[in-house]
Amino acid sequence: MGRKLKYLFFISCGASMLIGLFIAHEHVHFWWEKIPVFDALFGFFGCIVIVLGSKALGHHGIQKDEDYYD
């Protein structure tokens, strides 16, 4: 089950990026939309930025012990 899911995931990742390489972008509003796999890159690095950025913020001030307000 887990292994199959893993393969399915990798295949769909590959497929979506492969299709992304071949489709032409209509209505391009921003320069980065011309980069073929921009969405994939943005998703991957955006996610990392969100996780690390938020955790850094959390550990440097935002997060307090659970009885902070008691």
């Binding site: 769909s12 979506s16 209505h27 921003f30 969405d39 996610c47 955790k55 959390g58 307090k64």
Partner: protein, 618 residues
């Protein structure tokens, strides 16, 4: 045509009648019937203005029907029905009464045609909704409810102040487009964005929604913020400030969601994030953006209700509300149906193609493209990554599959968990069905939007782009899966400003201020007591005064000299004389004077009076 009534009144009437139904089955049927009647009522409403009443020279309009109000009206009534199915097992009538009042007042806001009607329903909405929190009946819910109502009362006051200035400036009570600029519009906007949970006025939402009852939180997610989006769409389309607030808000919710451990609070932060898209759409103000904001509100109400239903069901069956308490329980084996239905909500909010978030969220994002707003576009894009990361991946993983981090053990080994009651599952299934239906056939929704829709969500570019974004987000999630588990912490948000300094204020009131009050009170009480005792015998007043000062002066003089000790007896004697004089009651026999004295005084006064009179005459 059938004579229709305002949909708000159907719910309010329902709230009044509900307590009189003693039979439980009958009550349940009634609870489901009311939203159905309201829905049929909506079907009979046509564009126009209805139910206009003149009150003190102002027109109160209870029914302004156009495409925008109808779209919100439909979704409010639909989610009212779904929520009622979900809450059918709740025996406490009070909860249902509060819910009906809450829904009724929201519909009142939706169809209000003038700002006074709007304000009245706005306030009922705040007051009725707080009971959905208080019915949880524990201390944290009670406290959160008080904070909730205080913030909303503040917002209501700002709104009322704005309305009064606006009406006295323009003379118009019409609830419609307001030119932004000037104090009146700023106060009205403040009132609205407090309800829309726009940072920094958002903390009431993430503070109170997770404390509400299991079923109450489902209703709370649907009405307050979305009715605020509706009034913003009416009054402030195209206000640049809202574009930025919306985009920041979308990301703000995501950042806090990363840190959150309480499952419903995590979802609450995602309400803030999603409402950010709508607020941004309002600010952009183009036809496409307005359509997008409306469509997103519609879809959001459905999928967020579904997500809250799923999370609340877990809380209902396990009694746990934190990720750290739920990990390692393998709940997916015990409640697979609940998980599957939740996932439909998760995919919808993440805008996976064929689910309803995809057809609405992409519309707002596309509107930013049309207007060439690169920064806003990227901010919203980034927020959608965060949305999928949390509601689509982290939360379901944490609740149903979560592993215990290495080196930690589960405290209490066995935890009872089954699927939630049937009515909850049916409600979730119906909501999930609607999420998919509007996702697959977007025309159903697009046809009721305020402007004609020229947007096609299912182009190959959109679908492939979105799949890339989501799949690679999932990839990154995989890498950080162990970092993303819940931490047993609370996150400090802007509610800090009234929670921590609030304690200081309480200290100030109960210590220095209370002390001052006691001192003042003591002083005045003593004064009153003295006057009372002196008034027992006012004739002796000169004597008492003389004795008092005599005693004081002698006392001081003796103190200055060294004979003080020897004179103690004398002082005591004087003191006792003073006390005796104070104690002496008025007795008319003691002070009886000859009658001639009174006559003499009268004659003297008469003489003086005559003297003055004659002097002045000449």
């Amino acid at each position: 045509m059938i004579d229709i009534v305002p949909p708000a009144f159907i719910f309010i009437l329902g709230a009044i009648l509900l307590p009189f139904l003693r039979e439980r089955r009958l009550r349940q049927i009634f609870q489901l019937l009311i939203p159905l009647i309201a829905f049929i009522d909506l079907l009979y409403m046509h564009k126009g203005t209805y139910w206009v009443y003149n009150f003190l020279g102002y027109d109160l309009i209870l029914g302004r029907v156009d495409k925008l109000s109808m779209c919100f009206g439909y979704v409010f009534v639909i989610v009212a029905f779904l929520g009622m199915v979900y809450a059918l097992h709740v025996r406490e009538v009070g909860q249902h009464v509060a819910t009906f009042l809450y829904i009724g007042s929201t519909l009142g806001v939706t169809f209000a045609g003038d700002i006074f009607t709007l304000f009245v329903f706005w306030e009922i909405m705040a007051v009725s909704s707080v009971f959905l929190i208080w019915y949880q009946r524990d201390k944290s819910a009670l406290d959160a409810g008080f904070r909730y109502i205080m913030v909303h009362i503040f917002g209501g006051c700002a709104l009322l102040a704005g309305i009064i200035i606006h009406v006295s400036n323009t003379g118009s009570t019409q609830f419609g487009f307001i030119e932004y600029g000037g104090l009146a519009s700023q106060l009205i906007l403040l009132g609205f964005i407090i309800n829309a949970a726009v940072p920094p006025f958002h903390a009431w939402l993430s503070d109170s929604y997770p404390e509400a009852t299991v079923t109450g939180s489902v209703f709370l997610t649907a009405f307050t913020t979305k009715s605020a989006v509706y009034v913003l769409l009416r009054t402030f389309p195209g206000v640049e400030l809202l574009v930025w607030l919306g985009a920041i808000m979308a990301l703000y919710g995501v950042v806090y969601a990363v840190l959150e451990n309480d499952i419903r609070r995590l979802l609450a932060y995602h309400i803030i994030s999603q409402v950010g898209y709508m607020v941004c759409g309002v600010g952009l103000g183009t036809e496409m953006a307005i359509n997008g904001a409306t469509a997103h509100a519609f879809c959001h109400i459905l999928y967020k209700a579904l997500l809250f239903m799923g999370a609340a069901a877990v809380i209902y069956v396990t009694g746990r509300r934190k990720l750290t308490e739920l990990q390692g329980r393998n709940l997916f084996k015990k409640m697979p149906i609940c998980l599957s239905l939740y996932m439909i909500g998760g995919f919808s909010i993440s805008a996976v193609p064929l689910f309803n978030g995809f057809i609405s969220k992409t519309m707002v994002v596309a509107a930013t493209g049309e207007l060439h707003r690169p920064i806003i576009h990227l901010l919203l894009h980034l927020a959608s990554i965060g949305t999928f990361l949390h509601t689509g991946l982290k939360l379901p993983y944490g609740i149903w599959f979560g592993r215990v981090p290495e080196g930690e053990t589960i405290e209490d080994e066995e935890m009872e968990a089954t699927e939630p009651p049937l009515n909850m599952l049916i409600a979730m299934a119906m909501t999930a069905f609607l999420c998919i239906l509007t996702g697959v056939y977007p025309q159903i929704l697009y046809n009721i939007l305020p402007y004609p829709v020229h947007y096609h969500p299912y182009t190959i570019n959109h679908v492939v782009g979105m799949m890339q974004l989501l799949l690679l987000t999932a990839g990154a999630f995989w890498l950080y899966i162990d970092k993303l588990g819940g931490e047993a912490k609370v996150s400090v948000d802007t509610d800090w400003f009234y929670r921590k300094p609030g304690v200081l204020l309480l200290w100030f009131v109960s210590n220095p201020l209370q002390d001052l009050r006691l001192r003042l009170q003591g002083f005045f009480t003593k004064m009153v007591a003295n006057i009372t005792s002196l008034s027992k015998n006012p004739i002796l007043l000169p004597e008492i005064t003389a004795r008092y000062f005599h005693l004081k002066i002698i006392n001081r003089l003796y103190q200055a000299s060294d004979t003080y000790k020897d004179k103690q007896d004398e002082l005591k004697k004087l003191e006792s004389k003073l006390a005796a004089a104070k104690e002496m009651r008025y007795d008319e026999n003691v002070y009886r004077r000859p009658i001639g004295l009174g006559v003499l005084i009268a004659i003297i006064l008469l003489f003086l009076y005559g003297l003055i009179y004659f002097i002045r005459l000449h």
